[in-house]
Symmetry: C2
Subunit: 336 residues, 2 copies
DNA sequence: CTGAAAGCGCTTACAG
DNA sequence: CTGAAAGCGCTTACAG
């Protein structure tokens, strides 16, 4: 390449990367030759010489769920627009309550930075990333001393419960209590705590038996909610900690002949891809926005060496559709 | 590292990679020192010296849809189990009818091979991959001269139509006709052609107006099917080319008061993640299986230099749930 | 503005 | 079985 252009490899390197100290004519010639030869600098040699790979690790607890796929898609686009690439890690393991650990082999000299998607890091993993000197941005579950992008899970849940209270509901059930397999994740904890706090603050009723565990899939939610919905003294509204579970509950109601929203109101959180078409009331979060924000933070650390501990909290928004309505007359509190 | 272990770098390299010609004692010492020092060979230096990166590019037309996320997840796990990593490319572009092209910058000296997920390659892209000498495995949309993993889309569609015919349906509509934005993809073509062929062969009726286009989302399918379902002379069954569209049609029916399956049968293809809980009859494909098979094929090319043009066709399976039933009595053909 | 040279951290013949 | 040396293809001071 240098030989064809009649210059040194150093000049080729400078010309192609747009550095100073190259004459316009020389640069033009180098660029033309590069074009003719389909020349692209070897990223592996560049990485070895420069110490930077222009690759970021994106680490997900699993990928097949909409929330994570949407994050990854947004991150990939943001990073690639800035000339970076995504090395993807799906840490899902065979058993539900265990994920693969982040290892040095995944990161060392392979990536310049890391974005974690709702991954509660172990102390070993934090120490590893520290030792490797890698910038890291967390989405969702925060990592101490690192920038984080998230929504306010408590506020989102409060919005959901208050929406139901505003419709006159006083007897409210909950699905999505912290299950085994996500006991280490922050979101389920926060949402349940905020639910209970809001119920108490608004003087609503939620019996112990109305709080259901679930593995956060629609399928499990349908199964796990059947017993509760069959009871004559069931609540008049259900809050699902995610839209996928809300869809499961709605389906369970349909099978039992419980009309939504006439007999039962259901609200979720997320604004899942199918929520609009299914008419599900929800508290929307901008999942792609979380991804773009996280990518932006990582790029700032990478390109500007900005090691701030910034926290970005994206807003959520109540979206009222057809799965919630006024409390059934028969269930209204008696005026005394 | 070599200094601490008291051997040459060549010996370290051989010991760590498990090559011959290293004495057991030396190997043990090297391994112990490596452990102590958290030593992991720099993949960038290894790649430069060896010419192999142990990274595969996974190229998707978009990522947020369940089908693609499931494929990526399966591929990532298979490849990582074999010591390889995944560089992910989401080719979705701003406009629906256009995707980003595969470029030399994405592949050259960056990956050892490529897996395409339902990507119809342009001749430029095929030439690029040829020029770079990269093995490639296609999922879905085949690439000439390359191994491919797919289902038999025509057979799957035939199964769906025959299921309806077996229930007595003779008036059958279709949603998922090849839309602008996927005109270059094989699957929609194959499914529609097989639908029409089976309808003719089984002497069924499908008016021109019963074949609906759609962008293959539930939302669009709900919207696009409303007019047809409102007509008094509507078909008694709808075949959706994907489960996501089937869900949209089912929702559209619900809003119109058309009962499923009493008034209208609906069948999809895929066995989407929500299909079971929603009780949707479908023709299942093993999406994760496609991903694992493709990863296996690529690894064979990478590790054993096996450049066969093998084609793997995975079976599909009718899964009867609650969205299909016998043709309504009023719509049964008159016995004459 | 340009080039010669060292160096990034490995692998791979080649000697021994 | 082990080591010295060249080479992978760049970037980066250092001279000029």
């Amino acid at each position: 390449m240098a030989r064809v252009a009649g210059v040194s490899v150093a000049t080729v390197s400078r010309a192609l990367r747009g550095l100073d100290r190259v004459s316009p004519q020389t640069r033009a010639r180098v660029l033309r030759v590069a074009e003719d030869l389909h020349y692209v600098a070897s990223p592996t040699a560049t990485s070895l010489a420069s110490g930077r790979t222009r690759v970021a690790a994106v680490v997900a607890p699993f990928l097949t769920r909409w929330f994570f796929a949407t994050l990854v898609s947004a991150i990939e686009k943001s990073l690639r627009a800035a000339g970076h690439h995504v090395l993807l890690f799906d840490l899902e393991d065979d058993s539900y309550d265990h994920r693969l650990p982040l290892s040095q082999n995944m990161l060392w000299k392979r990536v310049d930075g890391v974005i974690t998607l709702n991954i509660p890091m172990t102390s070993d993993e934090i120490e590893l990333v520290d030792r490797l000197g890698l910038p890291l941005v967390a989405i969702g579950s925060p990592v101490p001393g690192r920038p984080c992008v998230r929504i306010d899970d408590r506020a989102a849940m409060r919005t959901a419960v208050e929406h139901l209270a505003g419709l006159g509901h006083t007897r409210i059930g909950y699905i999505g209590a912290v299950p085994q397999n996500v006991a280490h994740i922050q979101t389920p904890q926060d949402r349940l705590e905020a639910f209970l706090a809001t119920v108490e603050q608004q003087h609503l009723t939620c019996d112990d038996g109305w709080i259901l565990g679930s593995d956060w899939t629609a399928e499990a939610a349908a199964r796990d909610s059947t017993a509760l919905l069959s009871r004559p003294d069931r609540p008049t509204a259900i809050v699902a900690a995610s839209d996928e579970m809300a869809i499961g509950v709605r389906e369970s109601a349909r099978r039992l002949g419980v009309r939504v929203p006439e007999d039962l109101s259901i609200i979720g959180i997320d604004d899942y891809v199918l929520s609009a078409v299914l008419g599900l009331t929800t508290v929307r979060q901008d999942v792609a926005g979380l991804g773009h924000a996280a990518a932006g933070l990582l790029l700032k650390a990478l390109l500007e060496d900005d090691r701030s501990t910034e926290e970005i909290v994206l807003p959520t928004e109540l979206v009222v559709r057809e799965s919630t309505g006024r409390v059934p007359a028969a269930a209204q509190p008696q005026l005394s």
